[in-house]
Homo-oligomer: 329 residues x 3
């Protein structure tokens, strides 16, 4: 029997290193088959419901394409047109989750709020009442499919991940609402694969203490390390991997966008320029989950240069999601 | 030759008891196949157009899933983005119907208005000009797929439907716009399968006289019975089936939402509580087409209790629709 | 090797007469197979992205149905929900194009602006950065799939296209925003198949000089002819084909809707009535790409009469698009 059958993917913290290895193996195989055009009808005529409370390009298109390419179909759902599940909507989440469980084989949800943790609660409410697997397509806390794609991409570029210096860096963007899910998920995941993680951000932008604490535990348990700092240049020095991206403060939901903007604008020089990149190893790679704010978070010449692997990351979303869905649905 | 081929399903009144038996047989078979995971490519690569003038959860998802699971695909269409078919839109319904008839194999339409009967007219205008089958996904008058699912569910719970006491009850909900299609369709259908139908509602909420009259004729013809009353407690007494749900007055379109709300609020105690339910038979089942206004129409402990079969009803939408579409497309 | 593999279709001007013959051959074969219900899994499990910056009925439904009927799936995308590609949107077109190229097999784009040529630029920007084929679903300059469908339809009605009198006529409609893509594409294409094209419009509405000039070159090269006039009655005389449809002025983007409306309203008698049609050959056919403004552009009795072939045109969109996508994806 397939032990993945029926499992939720809400955060990778709930999946073992071995589970993740199985996903990456299958993802690599599916990537090869996609390239050479082999049909993979693994979810033939099956239905996946995608609930987008928040908008998306990569997530929607990579999930919808994943289902098609596995022989099934993903419903693109705007909860606003569903009278359902939205906080305040006329239909209870429990009812929506139970009904969708009768109609199909899996549910994906993207939802986040300025108030840290609220979206995550909604996803877990769905998962509690659904009898089919629920996959997080990003909450305000976790983005497991992005983290899987990022790990897969790192594995493709480096033979061995042990003691690679992975830098998760805050980057400047005047666009104030980018939730913490990506950096949180990645500083949790990378130490479990032996990487030495440096998380660098202006003091106001530190991630949730529970995330930081768990990242340290993960490092201790799996032989990686975890360091937090506000010195960008030191952090970049000798890096193997630089993942530079804006995220909001934990207090954003409380103090609102204007105050947030004031804090952000204090750090308008936090951009990954080619000068800054020179401090890293020559073999270093530059990552970003996209959409990127060009010339704010990362300079265009870096993004379009030979060290950028941002499109490979984006592509691997497709393959890891196919692998996860094939296993759980 | 398949005698269902190309037929419209606008109301069940236009389908014979024998036709409906064939649909329910096929639905039961498709339900088994869905559960055990047998592929049913009955509509392989076929196209079904879903026009949603009104929003939906169950209807959209059950139809879209039905198509996928039969090997085809349903287009989710918002007529507002189509320049088409909407009353007042630049393109005539006749033109939209004729063009869609060239592109695919079936059309589903959901449309209703405060003014009773207007949506039904639009659906019949499409059906007149389309050369492919048109299936009503609910108008202001009929909801044939819901009625089929309800009948299927009753059949699953009771071996014999003859002389079951079926109570169609108005229930309180401050949400004023729920059209009359479900109670109208069900009081028409259930007497044709020998049930004794009691329709109970506050005096202002009686359904259209033509519907009431036809329900009586149906009862006389098929051996069921039909009674209308405004005494809720008496109606519930000894019931086998209680279907309790708000619907609007026939004058809603004329007098508008404020006046409607005043009338509704006179009956804020029309809730199916566990006390009220105790008047019914111990074996009685509770139905609702969802979305339900919890603790207004039906108390949460009743909805989540052992007598509620609301999720089974919702599920059967999928199976009866698969059956109908497989037969007509 | 398939020489069409990976090619863009941005305008037919970039495709040779021989290329177009191959498309029409395949389209005729796919039309037969569709009618007799033969499965054509030519794009099994493949993904086509449809970016609709502008709304649509025929284009969306014919492309989405095409993919389903070829075994694949088309994503219906509103760039406004994508944070992507829209001029002014946070994500660069280059990034969106590159990412979509990793997820699927083709991209379709519909975009037009009041300012002539701007939408076309966006499509070509996508095509520059995408590594998968880009198909224009109509810009402000070209609508190649409509032109192909129109040519296919003409071919079906007439054995030989050489020296058919094809009249592209401006028609009155108070709806001011109809871009020039259809008449531009068609006066370019029809002379390449030997037709004698007359383009008739009020003086203010002439198409872009580059289009007019190229139409003349096409006529000289391929044995057709091209005439421009503002005399509607003379133009219609002895016509074999009358394609009568509103289009905006080239200056619409500069002078805005009010001024445009004033110019349009000077020509409120430019309607294809049955009286006007009597000037054409008895065997003449009437065309329009739909949606048509009934009784403004074309009188209803003409549209619904025996000379109208507008629904055949609409249908052929499906078949030519299936052919193009099967060849390039």
């Amino acid at each position: 029997m397939n032990p993945f059958n029926g499992r939720d993917l809400l955060s990778l913290q709930e999946w073992s290193v071995e589970d993740i290895e199985r996903v990456l193996e299958l993802a690599a195989d599916l990537k090869q088959k996609f390239r050479i055009g082999v049909t993979t009808d693994y979810l033939k005529n099956k239905t996946f419901f995608m609930l987008f409370y928040a908008s998306s390009t990569r997530t929607r298109n990579s999930f919808e394409a994943a289902l098609t390419q596995l022989g099934g179909h993903a419903h693109y759902l705007n909860p606003k047109t569903m009278r359902a599940g939205d906080p305040g909507a006329p239909e209870a989440i429990a009812d929506t989750a139970k009904v969708l469980s009768r109609y199909g084989h899996g549910i994906g949800i993207r939802i986040y709020f300025p108030q840290y943790g609220e979206g995550e609660k909604v996803i877990r409410e769905y998962a509690k009442h659904a009898s089919i697997p629920v996959v997080s397509m990003e909450s305000d806390v976790y983005h497991p499919c992005q983290a899987l794609a990022d790990l897969m991409t790192i594995r493709e570029k480096f033979k061995e991940t042990k003691h690679l210096k992975y830098v998760q860096a805050w980057g400047y963007s005047p666009d104030a609402l980018r939730v913490c899910a990506v950096p949180s998920s990645n500083i949790l995941l990378m130490p479990r694969f032996g990487m030495d993680v440096t998380y660098v951000r202006p003091p106001e932008f530190t991630l949730h203490p529970d995330i930081i604490q768990q990242a340290k535990v993960n490092a201790e348990t799996h032989g990686g390390s975890f360091t937090e700092t506000d010195n960008l240049e030191e952090a970049i020095e000798d890096a193997d991997i630089i993942y530079m991206r804006q995220h909001c403060t934990l207090d954003y939901g409380k103090h609102g966008p204007e105050k947030e903007q004031q804090i952000i604008d204090k750090y308008s020089d936090w951009t990954l320029t080619s000068d800054l990149l020179r401090l890293a190893k020559k073999s270093a790679v530059v990552m970003h989950c996209l959409p990127v704010d060009r010339d704010h978070e990362i300079a265009s010449d870096v993004l379009d240069g030979p060290q950028s692997i941002v499109y490979d990351e984006a592509e691997n979303r497709l393959h890891v999601q196919k692998a996860v869905l094939s296993l759980v649905m």
